[in-house]
């Protein structure tokens, strides 16, 4: 099989070819390693060496295992034993953890060797991958544009065919939004479905690992081997049913709810208009057109499109999120103090001043967005402000979860565009934090509610991919994957252009 033929296979197809003996795991690994080595998108922060240790054992043993040797790209913030795990930050420059994250270890055990570590926004804080200490990642559809973030390296690597599939994390949209901007599939599971052990924490009550893949079947296959209770993460849980590979061909009897608050209007000739409360969702016309066309296809497949469903508190989700996530981050990132690992500032700090060492280390090691969020979170948690910000944001979170519960009494899934815009130009939003935060408008509500959501590519606008988001109740992963699979087949999105 030629390298081009190998790269054209989806991960599930490649696994099948290896299992039947038509393809060797070693040839597959080397085909991707060669492409990843020639990466000019800045996707990787570390790459496996030829014949090096990949954590999955010998290639000849992989054939028998469920993932059959299909190599995996892993976001930098997952700890990998003896391999740099720097979370896109200078403060963790050169850090090699003594252990491997549960999600990664499970996939290695299932037969996925580690191909490389992928670039990301520093500590997963960002929506463009421009906040990385290792420089920005370029979007394979247009190299002047961002891949989205924070799992930008993982998304761009999969889209460009530098990795068959990848692991990312999603706190407020960090899997779904880059998947949308790169024209691939990204799934954020129910909070707790995947162990957080060994993930360098951003906001612990929201962080969740998930797959970034070329198609829905690959997402299901990767998820199947990541999930499960882990004694090392007390918030992890056992899913009530095993993850199955999707196979649904229609959407008969499926009710899809289109909330006006997250879709830019009522849908009745009001596309691009105002959402509930007269608040602008700020969704681009090209994105809305593709979204509406996808809904039309869903209806053709038998789905019932319900335009009356409402998430009245969704317009407040972003505000609640930008209190809760920075607050948790300011606490989580307190561990980076120059004592146990990572950077320690020496210049200027006298040997007698511990406090000065802490302050200088954090000054030197953190980038501007991380500093901004640490400051925001520290402020929100400080005496006199706690109830007004953190306490209120937690109550808004309750309201948002209640909104979804109410909606799911009427519909099976909520559908929205994944991101308000297509991939934007590098540098175009870096001077305006608020404009950057807007990228998370449609993805943050699901994060706050802890529910699963998937983004699938649903078309192009001016040659740039658009994502459709489907969200379901907690533990509805199988139904969500099935519905996404049926839609994916009908949409027939061709991502091969980005792999050229």
């Amino acid at each position: 099989m030629s390298s081009a033929d190998i790269i054209a296979l989806s991960a599930a197809e490649a696994a099948h070819q290896i299992a039947t003996g038509a393809l060797s795991a070693n040839d597959l690994f080397e085909a991707y390693r060669a492409r990843a080595q020639a990466d000019d998108l800045n996707c990787f922060t570390w790459l496996a060496s030829a014949g090096g240790e990949t954590g999955a054992g010998a290639a000849e043993d992989l054939r028998e295992r469920p993932l059959a040797g299909v190599p995996l790209a892993v976001k930098d913030l997952f700890c990998t034993a003896g391999i740099p795990s720097q979370s896109g930050s200078k403060i963790l420059a050169g850090y090699e953890p003594p252990y491997t994250a549960t999600a990664v270890a499970r996939l290695q055990t299932a037969g996925a060797p580690l191909l490389g570590k992928t670039n990301q926004d520093e500590f997963a804080m960002g929506s463009s991958n421009e906040n990385s200490a290792f420089g920005p990642v370029l979007n394979p559809w247009d190299r002047e544009r961002v891949p989205g973030g924070s799992s930008g390296g993982s998304a761009a690597a999969v889209a460009a065919g530098l990795a068959p599939w990848a692991l990312g994390t999603d706190t407020g949209g960090s899997i779904r939004q880059p998947a949308a901007l790169c024209g691939i599939v990204g799934l954020k599971p129910t909070y707790g479905a995947v162990s957080r052990y060994g993930m360098i924490a951003f906001a612990s009550s929201l962080d969740q690992a998930g797959p970034l893949t070329r198609d829905v079947t690959d997402a299901a296959l990767l998820l199947k081997h990541m999930v499960g209770r882990d004694p090392r993460d007390a918030t992890s849980l056992r899913l009530p049913t095993e993850i199955e590979l999707p196979g649904r061909e229609d959407l008969k009897g499926v009710r899809l709810g289109v909330p006006a608050e997250l879709t830019g209007g009522s849908g009745e000739g009001d596309a691009g208009g105002r959402g509930a409360d007269g608040r602008e969702a700020g969704i681009e016309p090209g994105v809305l057109d593709a979204f509406r066309a996808a809904l039309g296809l869903a209806a053709d497949l038998g789905a019932e499109i319900v335009e009356t469903v409402s998430l009245p508190h969704a317009p407040h989700a972003l505000s609640a999120y930008y209190v809760l996530a920075p607050a948790e981050a300011s606490s989580n990132l307190a561990r980076f103090d120059g004592v146990r690992y990572g950077l320690r500032a020496r210049e200027g700090a006298t040997e007698s001043d511990l406090l000065e060492m802490y302050e200088r280390t954090r000054h030197d090691g953190f980038g501007p967005e991380v500093k901004r969020r640490i400051m925001l979170g520290t402020y929100a948690l400080s005496a006199g402000y706690y109830d007004a910000y953190y306490g209120r944001a937690q109550r808004v979170r309750t309201r948002i979860a209640e909104d979804f519960a109410g909606a799911f009494a009427e519909v099976d899934f909520i559908v929205t565009p994944t991101a308000p815009t297509v991939a934007f130009e590098l540098g175009s939003k870096t001077d305006d934090p608020l404009a950057m935060y807007m990228n998370d408008y449609c993805t943050v509500p699901m994060s706050l509610a802890g529910i699963p959501a998937i983004s699938i590519p649903c078309g192009l606008s001016d040659g740039l991919p658009i994502g459709l988001q489907l969200a379901g109740p907690a533990f509805s992963e199988n139904e969500l994957l099935d519905a996404a699979y049926a839609l994916e087949s009908a949409l027939g999105f061709d991502g091969s252009l980005a792999r050229a």
């Binding site: 953890p97 003594p98 909070y191 009550s205 004694p231 918030t235 849980l237 608040r279 602008e280 969702a281 700020g282 407040h316 972003l318 505000s319 609640a320 930008y322 209190v323 307190a334 103090d337 004592v339 146990r340 690992y341 990572g342 320690r344 700090a349 040997e351 007698s352 511990l354 000065e356 060492m357 802490y358 302050e359 200088r360 954090r362 000054h363 901004r372 640490i374 400051m375 520290t378 402020y379 400080s382 402000y385 109830d387 007004a388 209120r392 944001a393 937690q394 109550r395 808004v396 979170r397 309750t398 308000p420 934090p433 404009a435 935060y437 807007m438 408008y441 706050l448 802890g450 907690a474």
Partner: protein, 123 residues
């Protein structure tokens, strides 16, 4: 800025509901507050970082403050979204990280090789 619900409270807008005093706006974070919060966060700032941070934090907090408009009386806070049972493992001793491994990534190790070294006032 589109997409963010406008904070009309400070512009004489109607519907002001039970706003906590801390959310009275416009939210202005001044230089002294920035330096105070930076001290709490153990973060040294360069002189040129202070003014932009004051401006950006004010803008973000001003937008975030609209959650003060919502009537949230009697609403319980959510810190964890999915119900977990039996989260506790058996309280049995198990192997921990060997000391040498734990110290391997430390920027400085004490002369006896047994601990992390930090600048000490007694040094």
């Amino acid at each position: 800025m589109s997409g963010w619900p406008r904070n009309d409270r400070c512009r004489g807008g109607p519907g002001t509901i039970g706003v906590a005093a801390a959310l009275e706006c416009p939210t202005m974070i001044d230089r002294e507050q920035v330096l105070h919060v930076a001290r709490l966060a153990r973060l040294r700032l360069d002189e040129e970082e202070i003014e932009p941070l004051a401006r950006e934090l004010s803008a973000i907090l001003d937008h975030v403050a609209h959650i003060g408009e919502l009537d949230l009386d009697g609403v319980a806070p959510t810190s964890h979204v999915v119900e977990i049972e039996d989260a506790l493992r058996a309280d049995e001793p198990h192997e921990c990280l060997p000391r040498a491994v734990a110290l391997a990534q430390a920027p400085a190790v004490s002369p006896d090789g047994k601990g992390f070294a930090v600048p000490s006032p007694q040094a």
